[in-house]
Structure formats: structure tokens, C-alpha cells
């Protein structure tokens, strides 16, 4: 539980951070809340000669709520929960953030770190895919945007280049029907299965639906088919069945201490049904 030696940098601007990252290449890693990176370093599963702490960069903490919502990468989960405008504009974000770990972790853990690390157990990546969010990456040649649905390649592998920093997340105001449903063994655990669902209703039918699942594959799973199965329905039993079947086709869970594959598939179905039912009631 003792990490190898590293140099610690604490730049005060994004430019300075990018320069450091450019100078040290893949020997450097940016540090946000540290709740994934530090344990991995203590276990010596990750080794970096340079840590570039982003805490002192104030520009990365802004939250802007308009038609589009833009959240600075260094915004903590606790700040997400405390922001009145966010609670009104994107209540699914609060609902999900409340289910992440415990207050101590939420005071340190950031939304940027959560989505950028590429850990399939994290809650925010799936939620961001459900919201069809866009990640803004800053690099030596300026910034570029990548869709959350295109960002994740494999566990801990993302579309971010080594010399880039994820600086912000943006997404449109979401549909009135929402739910983030998560089963976990205990506080602080990753999901056994989690589902993010957004539903817009019109005339008693589903007009649009978006479904994403967490910790059921080596990447977050945006299930286009599950959303499509709900379109035009009143979220009746047949529609739920169809959505679950579509979702099960998209996930690829692995056996671990949370249980065997069959259990995870079963629970994924149960959790998705519950999320759809709750979202539909709110739609």
C-alpha cells in the first residue's frame, strides 16, 4: 500500500498542465480526485513518474446551466449535488451522484475523473452515454469534442490521447422521465448492475427513450435497441420485455465476487425494468 516514488506537479493553469503533460508524455498522468488513480498506485498496479494535480486550476470547476449544461471536469460529486440549478435542469445527475460511494469520497471524487478514467465500474460514463453527453478534450493543438458514446474503447482505454486533458462535459437538458437504478453490495461498492433511463412521453406513448447500463461489460453500454424497444409504447409488459431482451444482447458481464454471469444478467434485467417503470411514471 506504498506507491513508488513520483514527482508531484500542481500547475495553476490549463496551459501549464498541458505543457507538463507534453513534456513527460506517457510517464505522466493527471490527477483529479484521486479515488481511482491513488489506490492503483498504492497497489503498484499503476506507476507514473509524474502526477499533475489539477486541483489548482479554477477554470475547470465551472458549472453553466442553460439549454445546454456544461460542467467543468474538476467539479466534485458533492458540488454536483449541492448545485440548485443542476438539480432542476438535470435531476438524473443528482440521483446518480447520490449513489456513488459515500460523502467522503464524493467530496474528493470529480465528474471528470469519473468519466475519463475508463473504469467500467464507474457510474458517470453510462449516465453520460444515456444523456448523449459530449466530452471536451484539450490538447497541445487546442480542443476537440468527443461523444461519450464514442469515447470508451475497453477497460481503462479511451479516445483520449496521452497529451490531452478532459476539461468539460456538456449535455442538453434531459427528458422529464428519468431514473438511475443501481444495485450494489454495500456503500462504496461498484454496481452489480446499474441502469440509466430517460423517457420523453407524448400522448401516453414513449416519444423518445435512452438506456445505458453500468458495470456489465468492459465499457459502459449504451443500448440503442433497448431505447428503440420502448418507442411508441406505453411501457407495458411487452415493451419492458423487449427492452430487456435488447439490453441483454448488448451487455457482456464477467463473473467476479459480485456473482456469476447468469446472476448479473438477471439482475440487469430487473434493474432495467425498475428504472424504466420509475422513469415512465415521471415522464
Amino acid at each position: 500500500m506504498i506507491p513508488p516514488a513520483f514527482d508531484y506537479h500542481r500547475p495553476e493553469s490549463l496551459d501549464a498542465a498541458l505543457k507538463l503533460l507534453g513534456a513527460h508524455g506517457d510517464e505522466a498522468r493527471v490527477l483529479a480526485g484521486g479515488h481511482s488513480l491513488i489506490p492503483m498506485m498504492k497497489l503498484r498496479m499503476a506507476e507514473f513518474a509524474h502526477l499533475i494535480d489539477l486541483q489548482a486550476i479554477e477554470d475547470l470547476r465551472d458549472i453553466a446551466v442553460g439549454d445546454t449544461i456544461r460542467i467543468g471536469a474538476m467539479t466534485t460529486q458533492a458540488e454536483l449535488l449541492d448545485h440548485a440549478g443542476l438539480a432542476e435542469a438535470a435531476p438524473i445527475l443528482s440521483e446518480a451522484a447520490m449513489q456513488i460511494a459515500d460523502p467522503q469520497v464524493r467530496y474528493m471524487g470529480t465528474i471528470g475523473g469519473n468519466v475519463a478514467n475508463g473504469d467500467p465500474g464507474n457510474d458517470m460514463p453510462g449516465l453520460m452515454q444515456c444523456l448523449d453527453a459530449t466530452y471536451t478534450l484539450a490538447g497541445p493543438d487546442g480542443t476537440r469534442d468527443v461523444s461519450a458514446r464514442d469515447f470508451y474503447e475497453a477497460a481503462y482505454m479511451t479516445a483520449r490521447e496521452d497529451d490531452e486533458i478532459l476539461v468539460a462535459i456538456s449535455f442538453p437538458r434531459h427528458a422529464p422521465g428519468y431514473a438511475y437504478e443501481k444495485q450494489k453490495r454495500k456503500i462504496g461498492d461498484y454496481a452489480t448492475a446499474a441502469a440509466a433511463v430517460l423517457i420523453e412521453a407524448e400522448g401516453g406513448k414513449v416519444k423518445s427513450a435512452s438506456v445505458a447500463m453500468t458495470n456489465l461489460s468492459d465499457v459502459p453500454v449504451y443500448s440503442e435497441g433497448a431505447g428503440a424497444a420502448l418507442l411508441g409504447t406505453a411501457c407495458d409488459a411487452a415493451a419492458l420485455d423487449a427492452a430487456v431482451i435488447a439490453m441483454l444482447g448488448d451487455i457482456d458481464p464477467m463473473e467476479d465476487n459480485r456473482g456469476p454471469v447468469a446472476f448479473k444478467q438477471h439482475v440487469a434485467g430487473v434493474i432495467l425494468r425498475r428504472a424504466i417503470e420509475r422513469a415512465w411514471k415521471r415522464a
Binding site: 503498484r44 453490495r185 456473482g259 446472476f263 439482475v267
Partner: protein, 806 residues
């Protein structure tokens, strides 16, 4: 009497003696982060140790190359078995009569085993250096299943014992066999079972888990080469025993060893044994002449220091058609891991497992326990229970449920008709114990009434109908548990650890101004000894508890004792404390008689003073007597007011209790929500009701953890799958239900104050209550046994196997 004179009630209240819910005096420092733990010990020039550990569960060690590690600046030494061998310290004896490698000697036998010990100038350099030690391994076949270990032709794990057909506890019938330990009458039991009207049979597995105290194990060894004294600070539940063992192993005379247990952050049995880290730190300090600190991290604690349980218990219980139990048979296969390092009294290789007839009047019984070696970590400690008593209670409380199913009888009623009756105490059990006291029927009736048991069963039946109609996916389970603990080890005539009789001790000094210090042979790890032992002394001596310092854990100052585990502090050291207090009072009476110019027999004790019989205005308070003992020449009496008592208990004590758990189980997700938990404890005389309640809450929460998710699991290669707190379940406030506590009070007839001990009862009784609730929820669908831990997927699997997922 003027207005300033306190009334008798005020004097009693001022004492804060037995029965008072006195606030814990320890908490002021603990809640402010001002505790002083081993890792807080910092000495000039102190070095740090760290272990190279085996990544393999079973492998030949072909070579160890320490050159690169030694070349790292700041590395002082790297110890291997070769370095310890000339000292005879590459192996060490275990408490169970076996021996254990200190550092890998030719092979490794479990993942996480200590292979080399690096000593460096700081903790970080030590951690870097262990990566530079090059160890070449050659894999050997791994055995993690104790039944496979005993198969003919199975790989021999302990080559060092090859050819030894006799172990510390009798014959070994297989190279991987440690002992067969039997109690009771096998032939008579099997005869009863063969002729019984009803027999229920089941394999009950109590899985491997770990005490996992918040503070891990560690020590600081400091050898002073000038005066030849070794000081050893450590997380020791039995500091005096550690001193004796350290002396025997090192050859350092015992008076030249001082062992200090400072504040300990929980022990639960994990800190009873002697670990390689202690031996290596002592050797390193002797070699370098500098203090050496070693503190294991969480993964090391879970992987390498003592585990608990891992008992496969095959049971048969015989009864009449009416449910009267006629016999109990139990064969246990005990997985001890690579070395038999159980912490049990020497003559009891399976601890007090033969308390497994429980609270029931069972005329004939037999228990056989086969100890087996596997490629797992050694241990087998009493995790918040007396020695193997949780295993015993779980076994009998599951067998009762299995029998109730077989009989089609209500399990509460089955218990009631088989309880040992109040008039049968002292009761001699079929397996050889003498239960000192009990009143089981009263406790059971009180518990059932408190939860409205019949109402709960009606609700359960209604809920079941609703489930069958498809209106809910939740099943309600009612978990019953009635347990009898056996604690306070123990009588010196049959209880010892490495030859040390299991007495305990207390030494009291009363100061001239009427305050006092008392030192004991025990050591608190969170139990609140500084609070409760002062209360015993307050009641015995009349000195207010707030004016009594309790000190433990320093072998240079405390009288010899066997330490704190197995709920023995109150039954043994608590008795010594009361008796030492009585010696003080006896001398005080003589002093008072002299001062009041009356005969000793003309005085009577009144809370905090001796009063002349028939003349209440003539008295001497304990404070006045204490002062007189130091400043007056009293004919026939030595000056001062001190006493020592060493207490050899005549018998164990037998706390008991009735626990009832109600839970709602979601058959689709496997989640279990505990909606009610009622715990009635009878621990005899109650010293501090608030401390008891705290102990019960803590013990129940550990029981919850064990029953519902906590385990040390291995894969087939012998890799530990649960070595971090992500996977090893420690409940937080979020997972912990509300508990309702209650009590009856049946004092122990042989204990000076009638107290029996309580710290471990909730673990002993709690595990079957939680587990039985899970089983009960599925009872009507035909479930007889589902092994713990009852985590989500295992409960889901039960539901799935019973066809409840459509």
C-alpha cells in the same frame, strides 16, 4: 446530619459502581484522535520492515537473490530463512502444538506467506526494496479443498512432517491430516440414531472469514545493547504470553524483555497469536541495534494473519416424533490452512466446539473433528467468540431448524421443549461440560412475546400467499436463535496456553488521598476495561470509579495475566479485581476499627465507609482510612493499602441469549433487508448496561457481516479473491440495521460478582439468527441448507434453484 452531608443515594450515585451506565472514559481520547497505537510509536533511528510475500499458494523456492535490494540506498538488511536458521528461528512453534515457518524454508504453502524481510531506513524504501528481491519459484499442485487434501495420493503439503504419524493431538492418518479429536460416546450416539423415530441429517458449512480489526497487526522491537533489554510494543491481546514466548524463542531472560500493548484498534482474536513479523522485527533489532517497526497493511492482514472458522460440520440429530431430541452426532472437517496455528487452550485442538449440544438437554452425543492442512493461510482464531463456540452455536441452531422442518414443527416450540430446565442447573452435558446456571425458558418466552412471534408468523403466512398470487416478489424470513456461550477460560487444571495456566490477575494500590490505581493482566482492545473494571472496584472498595485509574498492557508494571480474548476479561480478571478489592476492604475494616476504637466485628460496610453498628454517626470513610494507612502507626498492621489477587476460575461461565431477526428478501435481486432485530442477552450480573449495549451492537454487526457477505475466498489456484475491503464486507452505518436490546439476569453462582462476560455473545448468537432468517424465508419452498455468506448472488441462486424465477 446537616444539609451538606450527602445522602446514601447520593453516595451510591457518586461511586458510579456496578450497574451504572457510566460513560466510557476511553472515548475522550479515541473520539478526538488522541489514541496511542503501535504505529504512533516513533523512536530515534527507527528502521522499518516489510515482507516479500509469496504470490503462489504452493511452490518450491528455488532461489532468493537479495543483491539488488541490498544495493538500494537506505536498505539495511534483508533476512531470509537462511539468516534465521543459525538462530533456530526460521521456524517457530504455534499455540496449537504445530510449528510454522517464520520465513519460507525451501517452499511456500499459501499465497501471502512471508518469504524475506527487508529492513530499511524508511517505509518507502522498504516498499521499493521488496520489489527488488528476486525469488525463483517452481509451482507445485495446489490444494484448497480439505476433503481433497485427505484423498489417497494427495500432494503432501507439509514435507517437514513426513513420516510423523503422531501429532500434538494424537495419530495422523494421512500426510495432510493434523488430528482427530473426539468427545462423547460415539457408539451410544450411533445406536440412538439408528433406532430413532426421526433423524435429520445435514452438512453445515461455516465459511472462512477473518476478524479484520480496523488496526492491523504490528510491532516495534527495540533492543538496547547497552543494558541488554528488549522492549516490544505490539498489537498483542496477551502481552505477558508474548513476553514468555519471546524469552523462550530468543533466549533473552524474561526480566530483560518488556512487552507493551498500547491502545489497540480492535482485536477479535486476530491479535492473539505470534506472527513472523514480530520474530523478524526482534531479530532485525538485535542485528542492527536499532528499533524496527513493522505494521502490516490491510491486504497483508486479510491474506496472511489469522483467519477464523472454515468448518465443514456433518450433523445428525435424532428425535422422537413429538420432537424430543434423543441424540446428536457431528463430524467436522476443519480446514486449518498450511500450519495449525489455532489459538486455543492447549488441550483443546477444536476449542470448545463440544459446547455444540447448545441450550438443549441432549442425553447422548458425539463430536469428532478432523484437522486438515491445505494451501491456505494459517489461523483458526476465535473471531469475537470463545474458542470455536460460534461454529458450535451455528451448527446446533441450524440442526434444530433442519429437525423442525423434518418434523413439520414450529422451530420456536421445538427449542422450548428441548431446553435444559432451570432446575437442571448445574447441568452436565453429554459432551462433558458443567453449565453453571441458566433460565432459558424465561428468556425465550420474553423474547417471543417482545416480537409478537405469533403475529410475525401470521404476517409471514399472509405475505407468502401474496407472493404466490404474484403481488410481491419479496419473502419474509423469521430467524430464531437461542445460544449458550462458554467463556472465561479457564480453570488452570485443564486450560493453558503454552503451559501457562489461564488464570488472571489484578493489583490495586490505594493512594493516601483516597484515589487508586489498578493494574490487570488483561488488555482492552475497545472493550472499555478502564471504565468497567473501575466500576467493579468502586462497588467493592467505596472509592468512586472516577478516582480509579485502570492500567493494562505493560508487562513491567502489570501482574501476569493471560490477556483478553474469549470473553475472559470479566469472568477471570473481573473476578480477580473484585477479590483484590475485597482484600483492600478487609484491611480497611481493621484500620477503621482501630481508628474508631471498636472491634472489627462491630463495624458494617455502607457504600463507601465503615459504620459502627447501631451508631450511624460514628464512621470512617474509605478516604479517611486510606489516609490513615499511610500516616499512622497501627499496631499489628503494615503501612499502606495495596492488594493483589490471582484468580483461577473454578469453572467457565455460560452466558446465553435469545435473538430474533426479521428480514424481507427480494427473490429477484437477492437483497435482504433486515427490518427488525431483537437481542436478549443474559450475561449474569450487569456491570455497565451502556457498555453491554455497545458490545451487543458491535457483535451483532460483525455477525451480520459474516452471515450476509464477509468471507475469505480462494480460487482453485489458491489466490485470495477477497483481499481488500472492496470485496471483504465490513458493514457501514448504511448496512447496519437497528437493534432492540433486552436482558434477563441470571448471575453466575461461582463468580465473585456473578458476571459472565458479554462481548462475544452477539457474534455467537447473531450469526445463526441472520442465517436462519434467510433459510426461513425459503422454508416452505423446500430449502434445508444454504451455505453462508448469504450475499446477493447466493440468495438469488437459492431462489433460482427453487424455481422462483419462473
Amino acid at each position: 446530619m446537616n444539609e451538606m452531608t450527602p445522602t446514601r443515594e447520593e453516595r451510591v450515585a457518586n461511586l458510579k459502581g456496578m450497574g451504572c451506565a457510566r460513560k466510557r472514559v476511553e472515548d475522550a481520547r479515541f473520539t478526538q484522535g488522541k489514541g496511542n497505537y503501535v504505529d504512533d510509536v516513533k523512536l530515534p533511528g527507527m528502521l522499518f520492515g516489510d515482507f516479500v510475500r509469496s504470490p503462489h499458494a504452493h511452490a518450491r523456492v528455488k532461489s532468493i537473490n537479495t543483491e539488488a535490494a541490498l544495493a538500494l540506498p537506505g536498505v539495511v538488511a534483508v533476512l531470509t530463512a537462511k539468516d534465521l536458521e543459525p538462530l533456530g528461528l526460521h521456524w517457530m512453534p504455534t499455540l496449537a502444538g504445530d510449528k510454522q515457518m517464520v520465513l519460507a524454508d525451501g517452499k511456500v504453502l499459501f499465497q501471502g506467506q512471508e518469504v524475506a524481510y527487508v529492513v530499511a531506513e524508511d517505509r518507502y524504501i522498504a516498499a521499493d526494496a521488496i520489489e527488488l528481491v528476486e525469488v525463483e519459484y517452481e509451482d507445485l499442485p495446489v490444494i484448497t479443498d480439505p476433503f481433497k487434501a485427505l484423498e489417497e495420493g494427495a500432494t503432501v503439503l507439509r514435507e517437514d512432517l513426513e513420516g510423523q504419524t503422531e501429532g500434538a493431538h494424537g495419530p495422523r492418518r494421512h500426510p495432510n491430516h493434523i488430528f482427530l479429536w473426539e468427545q462423547g460416546d460415539k457408539a451410544a450416539t450411533e445406536e440412538v440414531i439408528a433406532g430413532a423415530e426421526v433423524v435429520a441429517e445435514e452438512m453445515i458449512y461455516y465459511h472462512r472469514t477473518h476478524p479484520c480489526p480496523l488496526e492491523t497487526c504490528g510491532c516495534v522491537a527495540s533492543m538496547d545493547k547497552i543494558n541488554g533489554k528488549l522492549t516490544l510494543w505490539g498489537t498483542f491481546q496477551a502481552p505477558h504470553v508474548v513476553r514468555t514466548v519471546a524469552s523462550l524463542l530468543s533466549g533473552i531472560a524474561e526480566h530483560n524483555i518488556r512487552v507493551i500493548s498500547p491502545d489497540i484498534g480492535g482485536g477479535f482474536g486476530n491479535k492473539v497469536g505470534v506472527y513472523p513479523g514480530y520474530v523478524c522485527s526482534i531479530v532485525a533489532s538485535i542485528v542492527t541495534g536499532k528499533p524496527v517497526k513493522w505494521v502490516e497493511d490491510r491486504m497483508e492482514n486479510l491474506m496472511a494473519t489469522a483467519f477464523a472458522r472454515d468448518y465443514w460440520m456433518q450433523g445428525k440429530i435424532a428425535a422422537t416424533k413429538e420432537g424430543k431430541i434423543t441424540g446428536l452426532w457431528c463430524h467436522t472437517t476443519a480446514d486449518h490452512g498450511a500450519f495449525d496455528a489455532c489459538a486455543d487452550p492447549t488441550k483443546f485442538p477444536a476449542g470448545f466446539f463440544h459446547i455444540c449440544t447448545g441450550s438443549y438437554d441432549i442425553p447422548v452425543a458425539w463430536v469428532g473433528v478432523d484437522g486438515v492442512y491445505t494451501n491456505k493461510a494459517p489461523g483458526g482464531v476465535a473471531y469475537r467468540c470463545s474458542f470455536r463456540v460460534t461454529e458450535a452455536a451455528y451448527f446446533i441452531e441450524r440442526m434444530i431448524e433442519v429437525l423442525a422442518l423434518r418434523l413439520g414443527m414450529d422451530a420456536a416450540e421445538l427449542r422450548r421443549i428441548n431446553f435444559i430446565r432451570k432446575d437442571q442447573f448445574p447441568y452436565h452435558s453429554a459432551l462433558g461440560w458443567e453449565y453453571d446456571s441458566g433460565d432459558y425458558h424465561t428468556a425465550w418466552d420474553k423474547a417471543l412475546k417482545a416480537v409478537d412471534y405469533e403475529g410475525l408468523r401470521r404476517e409471514q403466512a399472509e405475505r407468502l400467499e401474496a407472493f404466490k398470487r404474484g403481488e410481491t416478489r419479496k419473502l419474509m424470513g423469521i430467524g430464531l436463535s437461542f445460544f449458550t456461550e462458554i467463556v472465561g477460560a479457564g480453570p488452570v487444571k485443564n486450560c493453558d496456553i503454552l503451559g501457562m495456566g489461564m488464570f488472571d490477575s489484578c493489583e490495586i494500590r490505594i493512594h493516601p488521598t483516597g484515589s487508586a490505581i489498578a493494574r490487570l493482566g488483561t488488555i482492552s482492545q475497545g472493550q472499555g476495561h478502564a471504565t468497567t473494571f473501575a466500576q467493579i472496584l468502586a462497588s467493592e472498595t467505596g472509592i468512586p470509579a472516577d478516582m480509579i485509574t485502570i492500567e493494562e498492557g505493560d508487562t513491567d508494571t502489570a501482574p501476569y495475566g493471560l490477556g483478553t480474548y474469549g470473553s475472559r476479561s470479566t469472568p477471570v480478571a473481573g473476578a480477580a479485581t473484585a477479590l483484590a478489592g475485597r482484600k483492600i476492604r478487609a484491611k480497611a475494616q481493621m484500620i477503621a476499627a482501630y481508628l474508631l476504637e471498636v472491634h472489627d466485628n462491630d463495624l458494617e460496610w455502607d457504600v463507601d465507609r465503615f459504620v459502627v453498628k447501631g451508631a450511624p454517626e460514628r464512621f470512617k470513610t474509605m478516604a479517611e482510612i486510606a489516609y490513615a494507612s499511610y500516616n499512622q502507626a497501627i499496631p499489628g498492621l503494615e503501612p499502606g493499602l495495596e492488594a493483589v489477587s490471582y484468580y483461577d476460575p473454578p469453572n467457565m461461565t455460560y452466558p446465553f441469549g435469545a435473538y430474533i431477526c426479521v428480514m424481507d428478501i427480494d427473490v429477484d435481486t437477492g437483497e435482504a433487508a433486515i427490518r427488525q432485530f431483537y437481542a436478549l442477552d443474559d450475561c449474569g450480573t450487569r456491570i455497565n448496561p451502556m457498555v453491554i449495549e455497545g458490545q451487543v451492537h458491535g457483535g451483532l454487526t460483525e455477525a451480520l457481516a459474516i452471515a450476509m457477505g464477509q468471507e475469505i475466498a480462494y480460487d482453485e489456484m489458491g489466490n485470495v479473491k477477497t483481499a481488500t475491503l472492496m470485496d471483504f464486507f465490513i458493514p457501514t452505518a448504511w448496512e447496519t440495521p437497528n437493534y432492540t436490546t433486552d436482558w434477563t439476569e441470571t448471575p453466575s453462582p461461582h463468580h465473585p460478582i456473578g458476571a459472565k462476560g458479554v462481548g462475544e455473545s452477539p457474534n455467537v448468537g447473531g450469526v445463526p439468527a441472520f442465517s436462519n432468517a434467510v433459510h426461513d424465508a425459503f422454508r416452505t419452498f423446500g430449502l434445508t441448507q444454504a451455505h453462508m455468506p448469504h450475499d446477493h448472488w447466493r440468495i438469488w441462486k437459492v431462489a433460482s434453484d427453487l424455481g422462483l424465477h419462473g
